[in-house]
Every structure is written in structure tokens, then in C-alpha cells.
């Protein structure tokens, strides 16, 4: 191939720049429009990155663990004494629990109740973090081959941390609940025991969530725990979200504005759990609604 002259390069460069900028802009606009759907470019880049990210993460975490174990040897002796005492206390508690479990099993069999787990849990390791300083997504070493699907919830220590936003056969990318576009149904206190229902959304700020639409006539206190309701059709009910740290009280007509600190330490996670939860299918839109969009075949597709 003949080398281009410098003048030719200078003449060509602005046109090439415009073409490439246009290409990038179309990609961006398409990405912004389609939201959290599966993307081929993201999926295959994740697959390619996995071959590099996984070994680097394994090596770096093992080196980190080695140095941590050396430093923790210093406090091991005093901890050992405390733990010995704690074991003795726990042995007594375990004995009491065993009795309770036995009693519970006996009562369940009497009532013919079956033990049901609402969803399976898949342990995953975080192998990559967002390469850009502007976002806080993470990549885990579980993908569609392990049964992970888009929008599946991610939890750690029983508390919700985010949901899957991109998927490849070997890996999955999840975004944190602190992202400002996120919203989920939540309740203050136990479900059924409280009328303080509302919507928790990310604020874009680190380690702060906001809860809105909580009726101003309901009493809300700082320190209360917030759980998911499962009404959003993405997350299961009963997952811990966080504790209330601030309440800007509303009135009978104005709702409370509540700030929540997430229960999970979302910026120091190494391992997470993917909840293989699939929400129950939504009921079909009421065909008689006047705002249902009709598709080309004359049928009714969806409502606005």
C-alpha cells in the first residue's frame, strides 16, 4: 500500500474525524435509547476481558490476603482467647436452637407445610471494576452459562447491592443501587407490619439512598431498617436495603424525604451473591384500556 503524503493526511483527517464522531454519537444515542438491554459489543468485550481480569484479580487478591494474614497474626492471640469464651456461650445457644428447630419441624409436619426457597443463590467473585472514574459498575465471574440473567439482583450479607445490567456467557456486569437512575419499591420495617411504603432511588452520591413517596402521616424514625417489597417486579421482597439516617418530615399532604445508608459495604466488596430470582410474570395489560398502543397487525401491544 502506498504511503499517503502529509498533505493528503491533513486533508483527509477532518472528514475522518467527523465520520468517527458521528459513529460514536450514533452508538451513544442507541445505547441511551435502548436502556438495559443485552449488547453484543459489551458481551464480547467482557468475554475478552475475562481472560485477563480473572488471573490478575486472583493473583492480586492472593498477594493481598498473604500480607493481611501476616498483619492479622499480631492480634490473633487475644482474639483466640475471646473466641474460646464465645464458643462456650454459643454451644449453649446451639443446644437451645436445636430444641427449637426440632419443635418447629414437628409443628410444620403437623401443619403439612413444605420448606420452600424462593430462589437459588449463586456465589460470585468480583473480577473487575468500572474502568472509568465516572461510574461504579463491577464485573463478576458468573455469566449466562451459570444461569444469570439481566436484571437479576445482587446481594451481599443479606443486603441488596445492585442488579445485573450487562451479560456475557462467562461474566456479568452489575450496577449499584446508588446509581441515580435506579428505583425500587421499599417498606420501612417488616412487610405487613408497617404502612410506610415508598420508592427508594439512588442519589448519584456514594453511600446514600433516598426514599420518597412515604406518606407524611406515617411516623418514621431514624435508625429504622428499610426492606424491599418486591412490588417493582425486579427485586424479591424482604431484602435489606439499609438504615434511615435522616428524615425530612412531611405533613398530611406532603410525603417524607428520607435518606438511607445502605447496609452493604458496597465499595469494599470482593464476593457477592447473585439471586437467581425471576419475578412472577406480570399480568397482561387490560385490553380495554383506552391508552393501549395498537400494533400493525391490528392487535393491542402495550400500554403507555
Amino acid at each position: 500500500m502506498a504511503e499517503r503524503s502529509q498533505q493528503e493526511v491533513w486533508r483527509l483527517a477532518p472528514w475522518l474525524m467527523i465520520a468517527l464522531l458521528l459513529f460514536n454519537f450514533i452508538l451513544m444515542a442507541f445505547d441511551a435509547k435502548t436502556g438495559s438491554q443485552e449488547r453484543v459489543i459489551r458481551a464480547w468485550t467482557q468475554v475478552a476481558a475475562d481472560f485477563f481480569q480473572s488471573p490478575v484479580t486472583t493473583i492480586s487478591s492472593s498477594i493481598n490476603n498473604y500480607f493481611q494474614s501476616i498483619s492479622s497474626l499480631r492480634i490473633a492471640q487475644s482474639e483466640n482467647d475471646i473466641l474460646k469464651q464465645r464458643i462456650q456461650e454459643l454451644e449453649v445457644e446451639v443446644k437451645q436452637k436445636e430444641d427449637l428447630t426440632f419443635e418447629s419441624g414437628r409443628l410444620k409436619s403437623l401443619l403439612e407445610l413444605k420448606e420452600q426457597s424462593p430462589y437459588k443463590i449463586l456465589a460470585a467473585q468480583i473480577i473487575g471494576r468500572d474502568p472509568s472514574a465516572w461510574f461504579d459498575t463491577s464485573i463478576i465471574n458468573r455469566g449466562s452459562l451459570d444461569g444469570v440473567k439481566l436484571n437479576m439482583p445482587i446481594a451481599t450479607n443479606g443486603a441488596l447491592v445492585g442488579r445485573v445490567i450487562a451479560l456475557s456467557p462467562l461474566t456479568a456486569q452489575f450496577a449499584l443501587i446508588t446509581k441515580d437512575k435506579f428505583g425500587l419499591g421499599a417498606v420501612i420495617g417488616a412487610i405487613g407490619g408497617s404502612g410506610a411504603l415508598g420508592v427508594v432511588s439512588g442519589t448519584g452520591k456514594k453511600e446514600i439512598l433516598e426514599m420518597g413517596y412515604v406518606s407524611g402521616s406515617v411516623e418514621v424514625k431514624v435508625g429504622e431498617t428499610v426492606f424491599t417489597t418486591g412490588q417493582d417486579g425486579i427485586y424479591p421482597s424482604g431484602l435489606k436495603l439499609g438504615e434511615i439516617i435522616e428524615v425530612r418530615s412531611g405533613s398530611a399532604t406532603v410525603s417524607h424525604q428520607i435518606s438511607i445508608k445502605p447496609s452493604a459495604n458496597i465499595y469494599a466488596m470482593q464476593e457477592v451473591a447473585v439471586l437467581l430470582y425471576e419475578p412472577p410474570p406480570r399480568p397482561e395489560y387490560d385490553k380495554s384500556l383506552p391508552n393501549v398502543i395498537k400494533d400493525e397487525r391490528g392487535g393491542k401491544k402495550s400500554s403507555r
Partner: protein
Amino acid sequence: MEQVKITVALIIAILLQWTLRNVAEPFVYVDFPLIIVVYAALQRNSIKALFYGTVAGIAVDALSGGLLGANGFSKTLIAYVVSEIVRRVYLDNLLLRIPVIAGACVLNGLVYYGMHRLLGQEPTAQVVNTIAYTLIGTTIAGTIIYLLLDNFFVENIKVRKREVFAPRRQTRRRNPIRLGNRR
């Protein structure tokens, strides 16, 4: 050969960008692909620099929570701006490159943030803090990386210096006394 070396450097930069945040959080403030894209633009081949900008940007975007193409857009623009500057100004001195990488870093942050706002997305991080930290991290890392890369491209620099600063022509000095005599 020079292009192969820059391509290898770009691949390494993308891999580092993908992984280093998981090793240590502060590394997120070093934009390795941007450093290489600016270096490629400084080599006076704007077409290749533009392609490097797009490829590196999309590679970073594909693993990021941001819009796919936002980094590609900003890095392509920067590659063009730097290659236009380098057409007019001699920038082969390391000291002169420091303000170039710093400026590129600020422009990259502003364009990236602007494109997200334009398309209705709000990045999680704070704008001023992120741009400031990235400016510091990328400028320091960029200066060190340019020193290393210049050692790899030492032959190329010598040739370019010869092209830019052509050897002086030896002109005979006229004797001012003779000139005076002529008059």
C-alpha cells in the same frame, strides 16, 4: 515498526485500564488509553491517532456503566485537536507535552460528562473532583510513560528532529570592510 509499537502500547494501556482499578482504587484516575492516544497524535499521523482514539474509547466504554461510545467520541476529538496543534507547534520536548496531556485530560472529562448530560444520563461521580483527580493522575503517569516511550522510539525522534530543524546552510560572511569599499 513504529505503528506496531504504538498499537502494542495501546493494547497494554486498555488492559491496564480494565484491571488496575480492581487492584487499587486510585488507578481509576489514570487514563492510560488517553495517554497513548495523545502520544500517537504527537507522532504526526492524525489518521492513525483518530482510529486509536475511537478503538480505545469504545474498549473502555464496553466495560463501563456509561454510554457506549462516549469515551470513543471524546478521545477521537482529542486525537484530532492534538494532531492539529502538533502540525503548527513543535511539541517533541517533554516539558511541552505536559500541558498538552493536562489539557487533553480536562477536555476529555468535559466532553465525556457533556455527552452524558446531553443524552439524559447522570454520571455517579462528581464532575469537578473527578476531572481534578484524573488531571493529576493522568498528567503524572503520562509524563513518566512518555519518557519510557521516547526511549523506545529514540530513532524516530532523531529523524524527526532532522526534518524539523534542517541543518544550517554554510554561508560565506561578507567582509563588511570590502562592502564599504564597494560603495
